[in-house]
Amino acid sequence: MNMPAATAMHDDSAWSDAIDAATARIAPSWPLDRAIAVNPLWGHIGDDVQTVDARLRTLVGTRFVMPAAYYAERWHCGDISERDLAHALDHAPTFISHGEALAWLTHPEPVCQPLPLVSDFADAAVDATRGWTWREFIVQLISERCAQHFDAGQSGLGQEPGVGLYSAWRESAAHDLRPRLAMGMRCCGKATAILPSNARDAITAVLGALDVGAANVVDYLTALLLSVNGWASWCAFLRWEARLAGREDDSLVDLLAIRLAWEFLLARHLGMDTACSRLRTAWADLPVRNAHHAAAAQTAWVWHSALEHAYRNQVGAVLRARGASPRAQAGDAKPIEAVFCIDVRSEVMRRALEGLAPDIATRGFAGFFGLPLEFAPIGAHRTEARLPGLLSPTLKAREVHDDVGETWRVTRARQHALRETRAMQSFEKHPLAAFSFVEGGGLGYLLSLLGRGSDSAGEAPGSRKGISTEAGAHLRVRFAGVNDIDRLAASAAAVLKAMGLPGPHVRLVLLCGHGADTANNPQAAALACGACGGHAGDVNARLLVSTLNDPAIRRKLARDGLELAPETHFVAGLHDTVSDRVTLLDGDLVPASHATELERLAQMLGDASRVARIERAKRLGLDVAVTESPERLEAALAWRGRDWAQVRPEWGLAGCAAFVVAPRSRTRGVNLQGRVFLHDYDWKSDAEYKVLELILTAPMVVTHWINMQYYASTVCPNLYGSGNKTLHNVVGATLGVLEGNGGDLRIGLPLQSVHNGDRPVHVPLRLNVYIEAPQCPLDYLLARHPVLGALVGKGWLHMLRIDSETGEIYRRTADGWEAALAS
């Protein structure tokens, strides 16, 4: 059979648009070594969140809110009050009575059946107890093909010759015996041969043959992509990365073509005409289904809004209680300032530090400190992108020794150590050497098995072979390739403007990044700093510190009106979020004149760590006896990072629910329970609202991504979460994890990051962004940036404005701003 000629009758460009629209819906998923949080529904933000919920129900049969039992529990334990429910019912788009809402808790809408694909028709004829289903089989084959194609270093057969994913599949599918052996499908090879050799042509041809209806094509293609969502997200990452570099990557279209080709093969298998007519009939239902699901989900969203309202009010009441924003007075200038990352984990530390030390002020700023870096560690052949996923690097940095001559020596020693380690691995990795090796050396692993956590597979966190402790102490971070002082000063000026200048009486400013190095954890990067691209924030902090301490740069800055007082000195730090230790970096470069402040800072950070640990220990459910002794507690938490059997070294950002953009005076002294991102912002010193624009378009998007990553991993653990950590199996060395043997690539957070075994620990709430600023610039920026307009207007986050005169809080709704708190 040849491809039907129907293709020609359709407008090819319409199909092409449909392909673009469907692939645009898939959000990227970063590789494990630089995993950062992302909103997995980023490609859907142009649509209302409830519409997207209905879409997921129609296409995949999964919903984007929690099950009724969850809300019932919240209601019965009082987390949702009558007032919250009443508010949510008032704001529901259709009338739902109080009684109906309560009835829903015990009798929710039935589980939804997704619209069928051709593979589902084929599955109807398969006895699932006696064989694989087509759905399982196709996902498995596609997953294996993708793993083979994108493998970054696991396979010992070397890279595949460089053809596209679709071409490679078409080539190999023609000879693959598995469809015949496992599923009894004959002549699969011949059928693939008649498919066009170009992915877009193949999609067009098959769409022409299947004919799901022009209006339904985008959703049909979306459903196909969602059936291999993990690998689709990987391909979307390749596209994201390519676009940042000004290129294009078509892997996602290739993947879509492969999945669609399977629909074609199965339609032939079932009989083209029957399959097509069944598909057409089923998909004619699409608009009805969407409408039905949207209506049926209303009550669920009422309860979800009520839950969100409860939290929003609680935080809002605290923020409002401060009243008018206090004016900064010269008298309360503090000699030490500490700038932390906006990460919710900093909130605990900052609160502890301020509580203990009246002479230390803290501030919140994005943890990459405004430097989009490409960093080259000493002696390493690979650079690291230390910047948010939204940006591409514009600055280069490298690690050097204080002594220029030593730099070369350390580089060489490190490179030697790295290469020797790899060469020695041949003993166990070479397919033949491995046989003799386990006989001669296998028993040696008894020590590693008994003695420690993980085996000698990698370097222990924090240590680097080939670099002695002594040499390590003299390693610094420098800009590479840029000797242009103007450019550096311009970068520094941009950061200072956004971060705010320290007052003239400030003697020491700590710039504190954060990181978490955890053993035997494929998803370790997800616990590190997302703004630093899944790395620790130390490099960025150190680099900004050395730049701002540079007299030449300071002179330059002063000329631009950004004068730093001569007695103000900067120092870098790193907050280890597993052990809650804060280490000061390059402390030896701090002049003796500032030794007192440095000592004071170090001591207070130590004390604050102790307080913060106790707070965190409770959430982790540590033994009370351990909590009582500071030393034991510190050791217990640090061990969690090194323990190879630990599936939950820390809770990460679980619980994150709000982002406060305001001066610290608005939140100082309030226990925000480590659930709030804090960014310092004073609109009075932001003349043209440039800083506000920056905050809304960069940090706010990042916090939204983090928030939605946790949200989606909690409400759709099977589609947007990576499943059970004990089953994780790293694929392609760094591409991602599989759960068990195979199946689709798993993206998002593991169950253990959001769930404690009994119940979800992350309360899935959309981010509440509280901004202390006048209304005009906010309205202007929402209108100016379509992405912001969509995020707020389509219900992906809640935007709230704090009035700095009265402290009153207003929420942005479809109709404008309304008072968020009942008086």
Partner: protein, 387 residues
């Protein structure tokens, strides 16, 4: 064990893997019991020591030989040898510690029984030949497939399969002391590797930091191969091992030589003289020590007669496979520009299609429970458990 493998009973792949394992294991036990019953009946005792001592006293009969063959077959099945290996790969569907337990412990049971009946096996030409042919083929084929895997746990699983094959090959060759050591060493090593599989990402980063591997020219790898063979020759000489008197040692010697060559190649690829020297010294020292270990163990545990000359063809076949494996490794990792032939790659990727047959058989003999039928909405139904 079945309970552990079905730890997550809603995972269909976990269930079918557990069924496969159950079927293969029970069949293997049936063979073992039949073999043992025959022996027990023949020698009228159920004491293994008694059976072995009586067997050594009288010439082997056909009945005893077939019983030995049954025991050897049972060991092959229990050790997940091709083509009954599928369950071993698929137990990744259970939590990591369960995988570690399987690959370090349970997989050794077959080998243990075989070693217990070592005197009988070394008397039986059929059993020895079977072990050499199946074990050796599995060792080479599974090691090649392991090279082609893309996930860390599957690569480890196939390597277990290969290592078990090598152990059984040594049994077939009568090198029981080495086989013992292999079993113990592998158990510890593999448990450690499975439990530490989460370090894969960190390792990858380090390897990337070391930079790309330098390609070698053909004369360089040929020289390394010669050096490997020469090293083992020196080792034989150092311990006064005459290959003609110890023909059984030739096959492990070949593996050692090619492995040593592989290590030297890896040293050369580092392109730093100091590393070339250190890796070279380490691999020569290892090879000599390995042969010394064999000598030492032989002195402690005594030696067994090697297989009769009729097993020679099997050993030759295995030797060819090992040389092929060495060449494959060079082709894929050392001589760039000479890609692995596409058909061979596809065959390796598919695991030679062997498991498809076993899966079908498992589905037919023992269908999955109806409860594990995937609904067309696998996501939302499973989602309820989170509530």
């Amino acid at each position: 064990m079945h309970g552990l493998l079905t730890f997550y009973p809603d995972r269909r792949p976990a269930l079918i893997a557990a069924h496969k394992k159950f079927l293969v294991s029970r069949f293997a036990e049936l063979l073992l019991i039949s073999g043992f019953v025959i022996l027990a009946a023949h020698y009228s005792t159920a004491e293994v020591d008694e059976i072995l001592s009586r067997a050594s006293a009288e010439p082997a009969s056909g009945l005893v030989a077939s019983a030995t063959l049954l025991i050897a077959l049972s060991a092959l099945l229990k050790s997940a040898q091709l083509p009954f290996h599928g369950w071993l790969m698929q137990v990744m569907e259970a939590p990591t510690p369960v995988s570690a337990l399987l690959h370090a412990g349970v997989i050794n049971l077959g080998g243990f029984v075989l070693l217990r009946f070592a005197p009988l096996v070394s008397e039986s030409t059929a059993a020895s030949t079977l072990l050499i042919a199946v074990g050796g083929t599995t060792a080479a084929a599974a090691a090649a497939v392991a090279m082609s895997r893309h996930s860390v746990k599957l690569a480890l699983a196939w390597s277990t399969c290969a290592q078990m094959g090598f152990m059984l090959l040594q049994c077939g060759l009568g090198l029981y002391a080495l086989a013992w050591l292999h079993m113990l060493g592998h158990a510890v090593y593999k448990a450690s590797k499975f439990l530490g599989a989460g370090e894969r990402v960190r390792q990858h980063v380090q390897s990337a930091q070391a930079g790309p591997l330098a390609p070698l020219r053909r004369p360089e790898s040929a020289l390394a191969t010669l050096a490997g063979v020469a090293t083992v020759g020196v080792g034989f000489y150092a311990w006064r091992l005459d290959p003609l008197q110890h023909p059984a040692l030739c096959l492990p010697g070949l593996v050692l030589a090619l492995g040593t060559a592989g290590n030297m190649v890896a040293g050369l690829q580092a392109r730093m003289p100091a590393i070339v020297v250190r890796v070279g010294v380490a691999s020569v020292a290892f090879a000599v020590a390995y042969l010394g270990l064999h000598e030492l163990l032989g002195k402690i545990f005594g030696t067994f007669a090697g297989p009769s000359a009729s097993a020679l063809w099997a050993a030759l076949w295995v030797a060819v496979l090992f040389v092929g494996l060495h060449y494959l490794h060079l082709l894929a990792n050392v001589h760039y520009g000479r890609a692995v032939p596409a058909r061979l790659r596809a065959l390796l990727e598919a695991g030679f299609y062997l498991d498809e047959y076993l899966s079908r058989l498992a589905f037919r003999l023992w269908p999955l429970p109806a409860a594990a039928r995937p609904s067309s909405v696998p996501l939302s139904t499973r989602q309820e458990t989170l509530g």
